[in-house]
């Protein structure tokens, strides 16, 4: 199973719709980085509205993917993190301090727009 990555102008859009197992998460990390490389995208929105839980492993993969994309010149915004997910992350002690967030996909795109000045 692979998480689909869509291209919208010079941005990439990812909407995670399924329960993520470890392998899918790693595969996604590779897929996203190679897509950024190929497309030269400057921004990525990863929408997590349908994700019901994020444990320390998935949090690490997501955090890493943000840092790696940053290194490649693409800014990543995470959107739609559910209250229950946010609360469990805080309980785990994971604050994702350097990861930009937005309430939903539209606002994520707006945020990229503002920050990249495009």
């Amino acid at each position: 199973m692979r998480i689909p990555i869509l291209k919208l102008h010079h941005y990439l859009l990812v909407s995670i719709q399924t329960e993520i197992d470890d392998h899918t998460a790693i595969q996604f990390q590779e897929d996203l980085l190679s897509k950024i490389h190929k497309s030269g995208s400057s921004g990525v929105v990863i929408d997590l509205t349908s994700v019901e839980m994020i444990d320390s492993f998935i949090a690490k993969v997501l955090g890493d993917v943000v840092t790696m994309s940053d290194l490649m010149g693409a800014k990543v915004v995470l959107t739609g993190i559910q209250p229950a997910v946010a609360i469990t992350l805080i309980d785990l002690g994971i604050h994702m301090k350097n990861v930009p967030t937005a309430l939903n996909l539209e606002q994520g795109l707006t945020k990229l727009h503002q920050e990249l000045g495009e």
Partner: protein
């Protein structure tokens, strides 16, 4: 107490199976959506630790339903290498696998009760409970 249900942890996908079953049980008992996420996440952490450090083991669920208390008890059992310094693994950020080291201290915060027993080269048993508020 209802009969115990267990999930064997051998492959990566069993981690997902365990947390899905745990969430279902938690929902039936009457946990709210946030506590369901807490319980599922704790199970995921325990199951992954078994998979990563002990290769195989079991996650078992007990429903507790007495006059005063209602809750779920999650037990993780393995016959892996064990943990020599329990104080150390309970520290935020301690990891031997390049993880975040958030798993065990996180589980303790996610659940209401936490009990870790481990014997080196024999295995590890972690018993945690969450009560319905």
């Amino acid at each position: 107490m209802k009969p115990q249900s267990c999930v064997n942890i051998k492959k990566e996908w069993d981690i997902v199976g365990a947390r899905q079953l745990g969430r279902e049980i938690a929902k039936k008992i009457g946990f709210g959506i946030v506590d369901q996420a807490r319980i599922a996440t704790a199970i995921s952490e325990l199951a992954r630790n078994i998979y990563l450090y002990a290769e195989q083991g079991q996650i078992c669920f007990d429903v507790i339903d007495t006059m005063e208390h209602k809750g779920i008890c999650v037990t993780a059992n393995d016959s892996g290498p064990g943990i020599s310094d329990i104080g150390q693994v309970m520290q935020d950020g301690y990891t031997t696998s390049g993880g975040l080291g958030a798993g065990l201290p996180g589980v303790k915060r996610l659940m209401d009760e936490f009990d870790l027993k481990s014997v080196e080269n024999k295995g590890t048993q972690i018993k945690t409970t969450k009560w319905v508020r």
